[in-house]
Structure formats: C-alpha cells, structure tokens
C-alpha cells in the first residue's frame, strides 16, 4: 500500500502544475479579452502583396 504515498504525491504535483499554468495564463493577460480572438480567426488568410514584404511573423512579439 505504500505505493499510495507516491501516487498521491504525483497526482498533487500534476494538479499543482495545472494551477501554475492557470496563474501564468491569467498573469499574461490571456483571459483579458475573450471576444476578439473569436472574430480574428475568421478572417481570410492574407495573400502577400508583391509590393510589400511579408511581416506577419512580427505580430507575435
């Protein structure tokens, strides 16, 4: 039955990791705006204009 000590320890550790993940998400502002991203994902993909350089990757700073 001693294995229970280990299992309970692991289960609590996993739960703590998810709690920490929630804290991180909340701190980094992911829950601040829950409406706009739902619209944003419906926009069509952009076809890069030949006159301009592609700079969509900079959006993730």
């Amino acid at each position: 039955m001693n294995i229970l000590y280990l299992l309970i320890g692991i289960s609590i550790l996993l739960a703590l990791i998810s709690l920490a993940a929630f804290f991180w998400a909340s701190k980094s502002g992911q829950n601040d705006d829950t409406y706009t991203p739902a619209i944003r994902m419906l926009f069509d993909d952009e076809f890069p204009d030949p006159r301009e350089e592609i700079k969509s990757d900079e959006d993730h700073t």
Partner: protein, 799 residues
C-alpha cells in the same frame, strides 16, 4: 440576393451607408455620399485594404463632419501622458475608438501596418473598443499616427480624463480569479482526500488517516490565508467602524473552522472541517465574482474632464501653438475653431460666436454672443473660428464648479442593502445562540461538549447561502436588464430602484426624442414654394435650417443666387427668380402679436408674408403610457432648462402643475432634488446632459438617458438606452420582484441554518453533516434565485 445588394448600393454610400445626394461622388463604379467617404475608400484601396468592404456591407462611418486638429499631440508633455510605454525606438499607446463596431473594423485596424509600415503591431479589444498600437516613434510621430486613424474614419477619443487619470486596470478582477482558482483547486483535492474518511476506513488503512489529515491541513492554509484574506480585513475594518456586516460571521466561521480542524488533526481526535472550509470560501468568492459584473464599454464616472479637449490653441505673439489645458491661465488668448468646446469662461475678442449650450443648460437653441461678452465654458462653437481671452481658470468656470460642488463629497450615503441590515441582527442572534449553548453544557459540567457546541454553532451557521442570495439574484437581474439595454453601475442599484417613490424628469433629450423634430406650418404655402424654401435653407449651417431641410425631405431643384446669411437671425436669397426671406420675426421686420411657442421660422416670398414653420418636439415613443403607469403609485416631477413654451402640451402628463419647473439652472435642479430628499422622498432622476449632472449625482438614483450608449453621458448610477425608455415601469417591477426573491432565499437559507443548529447545540455535529449541508444549501440558493428571477422577468416581459 445579388440583385438586392446592387439596388442597395445604388442608393447608399458604399462606405458609410448614408443616403446618396443627387450627384454622388463616383470612383471605381462605387458611389459615395461625400468627399470624406470617397477619400477613405481611395486610401484603403491604394493600400490594398479593399477587404474592409468584404466582411461587412457599408462598414464605415460618415465622414461628413470631420474637422479635428491634432497639433497638440506634438507637445512632448501631452504625448508623454498619453502613451503607455516609450523608449528610443518604439512607443505603445492604448486608444479608445468609439467607432469600432464590426469585424471589418477589427480587420482594418489590425492591418494598419499596410498603410504605414512604422506601425509594428495593433491589437483590438473589441468589447472595450480599444486598440493597442506599437509603433516606431522615429519614423512615425504620435500626431501622424492619430491623423492616419482619423483619415480612415477611426478617430480616437482623447479627452482630459485620459491625461489626468489613466484608466484603472482590472488588476482586482485578476486577483479575484486567481483566488477562486486556488480555493477551487484546494476544495477539489480536499474533497477527494476526505471521502475515504466519510465512507469509513478499514483497520488496514488507518495509517492513511493521519496522512490525509495533514495533507488537508496543508491545503487549508492557502485557502484561509490567501483566498479568504479579504473577509478578515473587511470584517476587521467594519468592526472598527462599529458596523456588523455579513463578513463578520463569515470571518468568524472561517477562523473557528480552521482552528478546530488544526486542533483535531494535530491531536488526532477527528478529521476536522477542512472540506467545508474550502467549499465555503470557494462558493463565497464565486458569489463575489458574480457581483463584480463590469461593463467595459461604459463609464459611469465621467465628468467634465471627459467632455473637455486635452489642449487648446493659444495665440501668443501673433503665433498659434497648442497648450495643455491644465496650463491655461487667466489672461491667455485662445483660438476656438468651429465645433470646438470653450474650455474656460472667456471674453469674446474676435469673430462671430454662436454657442450650442445644449449640453450645459439643456436649451437646444444656439445662443449668439457679441464682442466683449463673457462666453461660459462648455459651449460648442458652431460658426467659424473665434478668439477669446480667458477670465477664469478651467477649474473655476461655471460648468466645472458644478462638479466641485461640496454636495458631492461624502454627502451621498452608501446604498444600504437588505443584506447589510439583516446581517447585523443575524450576527447578534448567532453569537447569543453559540454562547447560550456553551453556557448550557458548562452548567451541566461537560466542558468538552461546551467547546464542541460553541464552535459547531459558529461553523454550521456560517451564512454562506445567505451571503450568496443577494449576489446571485442581483447579478441575474443585471444581465436581464443588460439584454434590455439598461445598464446598471452595480448590483446595489437594483435594490435602490425598488425603493424609489419619486421620479424627476429632465425635458430636452430625456423625454423628448432629440433625433425626431417635426415642424408644423401655420399659414398657406404651396408645394412649389416649399421647394424654394428647401433650396434656400439648404445653404445654411444653422441647426434650425438643417432640421427644416431634413423635415422637408426633398431633393434640391434650383440653385440659390444672391444668398446672404445673418448669423442666427435669418437668410435671404433668390430662387428661380423669386425673392425669399427666412428667419426670425425681428429679422424680417414683422410685428407679432404674441410670441410663438418653440423655435419659429417665418417665410416671406416676393414681399408677401406666408406664415411660419414652427418646430415642435416629439416625445419619446411610449412616453404617455409610461407616465400613466408610473404616476399610479409615485410622484412625478419635471425640471427643464428650457423656457416654458411646452408647458401647455405637458399638462396632461404632469397633472400637478406646481411640479413642473422651467428655466432651471443646473444648481436649481440640484437644490430641488435635495429638497425632495429632505421631505423623506427617494428620488430617481432621469437626465441626459451635463446640466443634469449635479441633479443626477444628488438624487438617490441617477439614470442617464442616451440614444447612443457610446456617446458622452454624465456621471450616473445607470445608463438607459433611449430605445428602452418605455420599459421603465417593467424595470421597476422587476427590481421589486428581485427584492422579494432575496427575502425568500434568506428564509430558505435560514431554514438550512436551523437544521444545522439542531445538531450543533447538542454538540454532536459531525464533519459529514457540515460537509453535506453547506453545499446543498448553497446549490439550492443558486438554483432558486436564478430560476425565480427569470420567471419574474418573463412575467414582466423582459425576457
């Protein structure tokens, strides 16, 4: 479908959807109502942003009245106050843009880098109507950025309030959510660890009992000291001020539960009440979170500062330069352009002043000022540019003084909710039962039972369900009101609404519909002559002329020649060979026997007097019905800043003529409300402009009525969309029903408390009973309140 769309496009502006004039502006086979709309389209298509029109039909805003100046943004001091972050390379700014309304707006504003590559990133928060822009400040100045936004029709609203006080961030909300997360996490784990004990452990598993107990205790510590901390501080501060609110028995219950659990687990005498404790804190915090419902797109705390501009144009040594408003001093010479607001009381030095004071006084007709006259702050200049000399500092001007009125500081008492009043008695009764039970067992010489019963009473009677009944009921009501376009500042306003017995109405803009002015014509006029009037009045920018043209509603046919306008008095001109004169009686040299009601435009064609157009205000739809319903069991009053020209038409609505007051200054309104309150009345004020702001604040409940909730509205307790004006009696009924629901749910939770107390006073409360009773009572309350409120809302036709 495609055909229908084409027809719509032929009569509507491709950009903003307004009706097209006779000769629309054309580009790429699209028609536009004005040069502004065409300009925006051209700019967007040049930058390959045509998709803007693909996501929504007519996504734009009309560009007809666009004349803003942003020179002041070049002032380093002002710019520094506006940006969130800046270094040598990049700046970040958050802007509030009222025009954001559809997905096209999001798409366009997040592709600003296609218009100017110096914009690195722009993110929209749609509900808050905010955009966060990161840009390279070496290549693009703040002023340039704002001008780009304005040029595509998304002019941000930059007001003095932004500079004075940066918008409060929602840190508190984030904190609360994290506290709930911790409490929920611990609650779940503790429940799992407590189950084995409740179901009974075999002899083999006894060794786990202490292990689980210690783990439970470890989980209880963050719940008590992190999640539940606010209850201790709140109970303590209230106690110091001599107030017994619901936080006191809650804090007491949490403390007793924690101490007893620690003693039992360390002494190995029992399992403790850790899972009840965690569940209690978890549910309480959820109730608190429900109560913190906020409207991100609305502001209830606006004052004159959000109405005033950030800077004015100062004239110094024959040169113009922008000056931050807080540096404006007496004696400064300022330039006010058309459509700008006078920021401080000043003397008119140059130009023709025609002031629209509708926001300050409620009087809708513009006021003329001659050279040398004092112009009060808050007016909006309608004609061309004028020059003024400031005679009073901004903070001491007529309008701003209304806010600095001492009446607003501390005088307004906090709304006393039912829960606040009930909790006082609840706490006293609870303490006496606990002490009584302890004393009883002491007398019988059983000190263990005395301690057990004393703590058990405090644990089981911990008013969790009681504390939740108000938040859940009221937040359900709030969301129902929200669907009906009635936005309350907080949940306590619902209870206040149920207590109101006196209604005070402002007239202009509140009970009249600002967008619906009608005219009647007294005299004889032919259709052809109406056409001439229309074609002449079309040339004038005066509000009355514009209203008249809008009302006549016909295309122009002739061009006016020899057109002349005497500002604010009348216009003359020749249409199709006929001499026309329109304007006031004195302008036309007429002698009228009695002054007419309302605003009047007299008509003379070819030296023959035809009669006059008389503007009459239209009541909001359902006004008559509303007055009838409200008047049945409440007192109705009317306070208007206007002259009493509408008195006769209002008498059927307000039968007691002494309760109608005209030509009231903002201060008069405030005093009137205060007098009503002194005679013991609960006053609700409906208002719309800055002139009502004092009265709105003074009244027990101030409601701002507005036709566009994103427009400016004065500080108030609730904002009502004009479209829902006739629903007011239903809202009040619903508020009263909500209070009823709270009373019933109090009774229900007291019943649960009584059951628990039956076990507790006998000193035989087991953790299992507590662990069952607490969640069951809580869930009963949540279900009962949300269902009952919705049933009542159906009955009141609000759902």
């Amino acid at each position: 479908m495609i055909k229908e769309k084409n027809i719509a496009q032929e009569t509507q502006c491709y950009h903003c959807g307004d009706d097209l004039p006779n000769t629309p502006y054309l580009l790429d086979n699209r028609s536009f109502c004005c040069l502004g709309c065409k300009g925006v389209y051209q700019l967007l298509s040049n930058h390959n942003l045509g998709n803007y029109y693909a996501y929504n039909d007519v996504p734009g805003q009309t560009q007809k009245n666009n004349s803003s100046h942003f020179e002041y943004l070049d002032e380093a001091a002002i710019a520094a106050n506006l940006v969130d972050y800046t270094d040598e390379k990049v700046s970040v700014i958050t802007l509030y843009i009222p025009a954001i309304h559809c997905s096209s707006c999001i798409w366009l504003l997040e592709h600003l880098h296609q218009i100017n590559p110096a914009v690195m990133q722009s993110r929209i928060d749609f509900l808050k109507k905010q955009v966060v822009i990161t840009f390279k400040n070496q290549e693009l100045s703040l002023r340039k950025l704002i001008e780009i936004l304005a040029s595509i029709g998304y002019e941000p609203l930059i007001s003095l309030q932004d500079v004075v006080k940066k918008q409060q961030s929602d840190h508190s909300e984030g904190h609360l959510i994290r506290k709930i997360a911790v409490a929920g996490f611990c609650f779940g784990n503790v429940m799992l660890l407590s189950f084995p004990d409740y179901f009974g452990l075999s002899a083999l598993e006894q060794e786990f009992k202490t292990f689980f107990g210690w783990l439970n205790l470890a989980f209880a510590i963050p719940v008590v000291f992190y999640s539940g901390r606010d209850y201790f501080t709140s109970a303590w501060t209230n106690l110091k001020n001599g107030i017994l609110n619901l936080d006191f028995p809650l804090a007491l219950g949490i403390t007793v539960m924690f101490i007893r659990s620690v003693v039992e687990i360390i002494g190995n005498t029992g399992a403790g009440f850790v899972d009840t404790l965690c569940g209690l804190v978890f549910f309480l915090l959820i109730g608190k979170w429900m109560q913190q419902h906020t409207y991100h797109h609305l502001s209830f705390e606006r004052d004159y500062r959000s109405y005033f501009p950030v800077a004015v144009t100062l004239i110094e040594n024959e040169k113009e330069r922008p000056l931050p408003l807080n540096e404006l001093k007496v004696g400064n010479r300022i330039l006010i352009r058309s459509n700008e607001i006078i920021p401080a009381d000043a003397i008119l030095l140059k130009g023709e002043a025609e002031m629209d004071y509708s926001f300050v006084t409620g009087e809708s007709i513009p006021v003329q000022k001659v050279l040398g006259e004092v112009v009060y702050a808050g007016g909006r200049q309608l004609k061309g540019a004028i020059e003024l000399e400031v005679v009073k500092p901004v903070s001491q001007s007529y309008l701003t003084q209304l806010w600095n009125n001492e009446a607003f500081f501390g005088d307004k008492t906090m709304i006393r909710t039912f829960a606040d009043r009930a909790s006082k008695y609840f706490s006293i009764v609870l303490l006496s039962i606990a002490i009584g039970a302890a004393a009883y067992w002491m007398l019988h010489g059983d000190s263990t039972k005395a301690v057990a019963s004393f703590t058990a009473v405090l644990i089981i009677a911990c008013p969790c369900a009681l504390a939740l009944s108000s938040p859940f009921t009221l937040s359900a009501v709030l969301s129902i009101f929200d669907k009906n376009k009635f936005y309350l500042k907080n949940t306590a306003v619902v209870e206040e609404l149920a207590r109101i017995n006196t209604f005070v109405f402002d007239k202009t803009g509140t009970i009249t519909n600002p967008e619906n002015t009608g005219f009647t014509f007294e005299g004889d006029i032919t259709e052809e002559e109406k056409q001439w009037v229309n074609d002449l009045a079309r040339n004038s920018g005066h509000p009355l002329s514009r209203e008249l043209v809008k009302w006549l509603n016909r295309p122009s046919k002739y061009t006016a020649v020899k057109y002349m306008e005497k500002v604010g008095r009348g216009i003359t001109g020749s249409i199709n060979g006929n001499e026309l004169k329109l304007g006031s009686a004195s302008f036309l040299g007429l002698k009228m026997k009695s002054p007419q009601q309302g605003a009047v435009v007299h008509i003379i064609i070819n030296n023959r007097y035809l009669g006059f157009f008389c503007s009459k205000q239209q009541w909001r739809s359902g006004f008559k019905d509303l007055i009838f319903k409200l008047g049945k069991d409440a007192d109705l009053h009317l306070l208007s800043g206007d002259q009493d020209q509408d008195k006769q038409t209002l008498i059927p609505f307000f039968p007691r003529a002494q309760q109608m007051h005209f030509a009231q200054s903002p201060q008069n309104k405030l005093d009137y409300i205060r007098n009503l309150q002194y005679s013991g009345r609960k006053v609700l004020m409906f208002g719309d402009g800055l002139n009502d702001a004092g009265a709105l604040k003074q009244s027990d409940l101030g409601i701002a009525v507005t036709d566009n909730i994103n427009n400016f509205s004065p500080g108030c307790d609730a904002i009502l969309d004009g479209a829902s004006f006739q629903k007011i009696p239903m809202f009040i009924k619903q508020a009263k029903d909500a209070v009823k629901v709270i009373h019933i749910s109090f009774a229900i939770s007291l019943t649960y408390n009584a059951i628990g107390l039956y076990f507790a006073v006998q000193g035989m409360l087991s953790p299992l009973i507590a662990a069952v009773l607490m969640p069951v009572s809580t869930i009963t309350i949540i279900l009962f309140t949300s269902i009952a409120v919705r049933l009542y809302a159906k009955k009141n036709q609000l759902l």
